[in-house]
């Protein structure tokens, strides 16, 4: 075999969604055979045609001209790309006051704090099974949940701890849930993030994602039949969008113009599988057009933009305007679960997205906007720490379930239908 020759080529492609990691994303949009032989990328320039194109010089290892030359096929993006919320005026229009902005900050800190402490409990051997976190998704989950009203319902998934926190789930019960204790939301019958408090309008996920998308659609159907001004929010991940449940749910919702908002937590990896191996359209939000409603791509690290877009979509649904699909783009900052070191995610990509951390970004914004001073920041940090440390302590005092409870609750009793949700 002759030694592979390296040579430079000039290629043109559609601009990746988030120009911040352009170099990396550009490589990912190349066909497989070419992508694997890219050694370096240089001189990226933007070419505004219909929509943005990029041209770049690639250093490619030993390829023939026919495989590497020419322009890459241009993919059509359909979804709207949300513009970022920047000014105080934008925020005002999004209907948030200072207290709301600080509450968002607090909820994101609690969310991350719960998962960081969960890691510790796991390493201490106090959490059976596996452990999942949503690091990097705090802005996306808290932003959407903040836009929901108390009467609305949702089906958050495993990166959406922020939804449980924002809706008012007590942290000590979440720790108890992690540890399989009696006071966990599933009382030890199910573990990790497979939990929800129906009294807070949340429906517990299953592992078979996105099986709760059709369930959220059914909640919206109930609201439509009863003419109630309520909205259901259905979550999916980027990987789960490849399953048929997503299609059937969005199609039924589109046909009946149901009051439901579909959220995709696009953290770019389904376990180890990157977006390019999960879907061939430009954005997942592009699919909305095929179901007859709007799709929007949102920077999921920007909690205020997430809030604004979710608020608009939820209120549109409430007013009878039908569904919206919001794709919230983030990067999963940890492995699929605690056992996974995510070696397959390029280091540079993680470094790049670390700079975009949703909590740091919101904190900076609050400080620059004069909403958060040093003293208040310290106060909130201390308060959150205290809350979570007490919660962990309380959860550890919760008893493990009694083995005699093994076969209780397989079937419901008729009187259990006398709850506000079932009446």
């Amino acid at each position: 075999m002759s030694p592979a020759r390296a040579r430079w080529l000039r290629l043109r492609t559609v601009a990746p969604l988030c120009p911040r990691s352009r170099q990396y994303d550009l490589v990912l949009t190349l066909p497989g055979s070419l992508r694997d032989s890219v050694l370096a990328v240089q001189d990226i320039t933007e070419i505004p045609i219909d929509h943005l194109m990029l041209e770049a010089s690639l250093c490619v290892r030993g390829k023939t001209g026919s495989e590497t030359g020419g322009t890459l096929p241009q993919r059509m993006a359909v979804a709207r790309e949300a513009t970022p919320v920047e000014s105080a005026e934008d925020v005002k229009q999004a209907d948030l006051d200072s207290e709301d902005l600080l509450q968002i900050y607090r909820n994101m800190l609690i969310t991350r704090g719960i998962e960081e402490r969960g890691h510790i409990l796991y390493r201490q051997g106090k959490i059976p099974g596996s452990f999942y976190t949503g690091r990097g998704n705090e802005g996306a989950s808290v932003g959407v949940a903040t836009a929901m009203q108390a009467m609305d319902v949702g089906t958050p998934i495993q990166r959406d701890m922020g939804v449980h926190v924002t809706r008012g789930t007590e942290p000590w019960r979440i720790f108890a849930q992690y540890m399989g204790r009696s006071d966990g939301l599933a009382a030890g019958k199910d573990g990790n993030v497979h939990m929800a408090d129906i009294r807070l309008g949340l429906i517990a996920m299953v592992s078979h994602l996105p099986a709760l998308m059709p369930v959220a659609v059914g909640a919206a159907l109930a609201f439509q039949i009863r003419r109630e001004p309520r909205v259901a929010v259905a979550w999916s991940g980027d990987g789960a969008m490849a399953r048929g449940d997503a299609h059937e749910a969005m199609n039924l919702a589109g046909v009946r113009k149901l009051p439901v908002v579909f959220i995709v937590d696009n953290n770019q990896y389904a376990y180890s599988t990157p977006n390019r191996l999960e879907f061939a359209c430009e954005h997942l939000a592009d699919r909305a057009a095929a179901y007859g409603f709007e799709g929007v791509v949102v920077d999921g690290c920007d909690v205020l933009t997430v809030y604004r877009e979710a608020h608009a979509a939820i209120e549109k649904a409430r007013a009878g305007g039908g569904p919206t699909l919001l794709e919230l783009v983030t990067l999963r900052m940890e492995g699929h679960a605690v056992h996974d070191d995510a070696f397959y995610v390029p280091r540079e990509m993680l470094e790049h997205w670390k700079e975009k951390d949703p909590i740091e970004r919101h904190r900076r914004w609050l400080k620059e906007s004069g909403v958060l001073g040093e003293a208040v920041d310290d106060e909130i940090t201390v308060e959150v720490k205290k809350l979570l440390n007490e919660a962990m302590k309380r959860a550890e005092e919760s008893p493990l379930p009694d083995a005699a409870d093994l076969d209780t609750g397989v079937y419901a009793d008729p009187e259990e239908l006398d709850t506000p949700h079932h009446r």
Partner: protein, 325 residues
């Protein structure tokens, strides 16, 4: 009291419950304007409107999942799989979501899935199955298989009022062929209570659904032939199932045939036979016999399908063998 077909009885039960309880709504393919592939819901959309009788897209997963979501929000959804065979497309929503929700987080899921099932029409492998066995294996689901018009109505009422997900198998071969007295008014039939279809003293046949009539025909022939007295137990529901009634009948006759139209291996009959072996071994005077469809898909062509479905002659041969044991 009026004489009704099995189909009319289901239809009456649904209609009366929809009139009584505003929370009940129907969703399925072609159930509205068309009135359902078998016309069980004919005229329903005119009476209850498009909001409560919903023509859905061809989406068994979304139909079933949406029922769960609506039930969690306080509705009492009843969906129809156009043929029970298509419930395979909704397996996950039933087994993964609906069946486990109460055990996991304590929220009841009161939904009913109507499943027109069974063969005898050259429906072939995808319009003739009896898939109750798959679901009987799943904790958290309830399963009804009515045989008579009175039970068809009584069990649909109970199914809708039950706080759990219920699979209601309605046998297509009984729809218009079987007529019977249906008591007027609110006549809910309790789940888990078997019915003695006919009393007998020599041998018991434990069965449900359309096979009740196959057993009846065979029992009649046996009685005429040599006076063998056969007791037929109609289970009515298989989850839960009436173990006490089965064991009482076995204790009385000491010989038993377990009969169903579903296939043999791991069919629900295996569970009944095992229970009899565990609980009533000492009262038995012969091995427990199973008569079922063979372990094949349901074939299309009439001679093949006839060979597939348990026939009265097959059951009669079984009765003769056991009686002589």
């Amino acid at each position: 009291m009026a004489i009704k077909t099995y189909l009319q009885a289901i239809s009456d039960g649904l209609r009366e419950e929809m009139r009584r309880d505003q929370r009940v709504f129907l969703i399925g393919e072609d159930i509205g304007v068309y009135g359902g592939a078998f016309k069980v819901t004919q005229g329903f959309q005119q009476e209850f409107g498009e909001d409560r009788v919903i023509d859905s897209p061809l989406s068994e997963t979304a139909i079933t999942g949406a029922c769960t979501g609506a039930a969690l929000m306080g509705m009492r959804p009843v969906c129809e799989m156009q043929f029970s065979d298509f419930v395979s497309c909704a397996f996950d929503q039933l087994v993964t979501v609906a069946a486990k929700q109460h055990y996991r987080v304590g929220t009841p899921v009161p939904i009913v899935v109507r499943l027109p099932s069974g063969g005898g029409f050259s429906g072939g492998p995808f319009h003739s199955q009896n898939p109750e066995g798959f679901f009987a294996h799943c904790p958290g689901l309830k399963i009804a298989c009515p045989a008579t018009p009175a039970d068809a109505k009584g069990l649909i009422l109970s199914a809708i009022r039950d706080p759990n997900p219920v699979l209601y198998f309605e046998h297509k071969h009984l729809y218009r062929r079987i007529k019977g007295e249906v008591p007027d008014g609110d006549t809910a039939v309790e789940f888990g209570k078997a019915r003695v279809h006919q009393e007998g003293s020599d041998l018991s046949i434990i069965t449900y659904g359309a096979m009740v009539y196959t057993a009846e025909e065979a029992a009649k022939a046996a009685a005429e032939q040599d006076g063998t007295s056969v007791e037929i137990i109609d289970l009515r529901t298989i989850t839960p199932w009436d173990r006490e009634a089965v064991l009482a009948s076995v204790a009385k006759t000491s010989k038993v045939i377990v009969l169903h139209e579903d296939t043999h291996t791991s069919g629900f009959g295996a569970e009944i036979a095992a229970t009899i072996a565990e609980e009533a071994f000492e009262t038995l005077d012969a091995p427990v016999m199973r008569i079922t469809a063979p372990d094949t898909p349901v074939p299309f062509s009439p001679p093949l399908e006839k060979a597939y479905l348990p026939q009265p002659g097959d059951v009669l041969a079984g009765i003769e063998r056991l009686a002589a044991y």
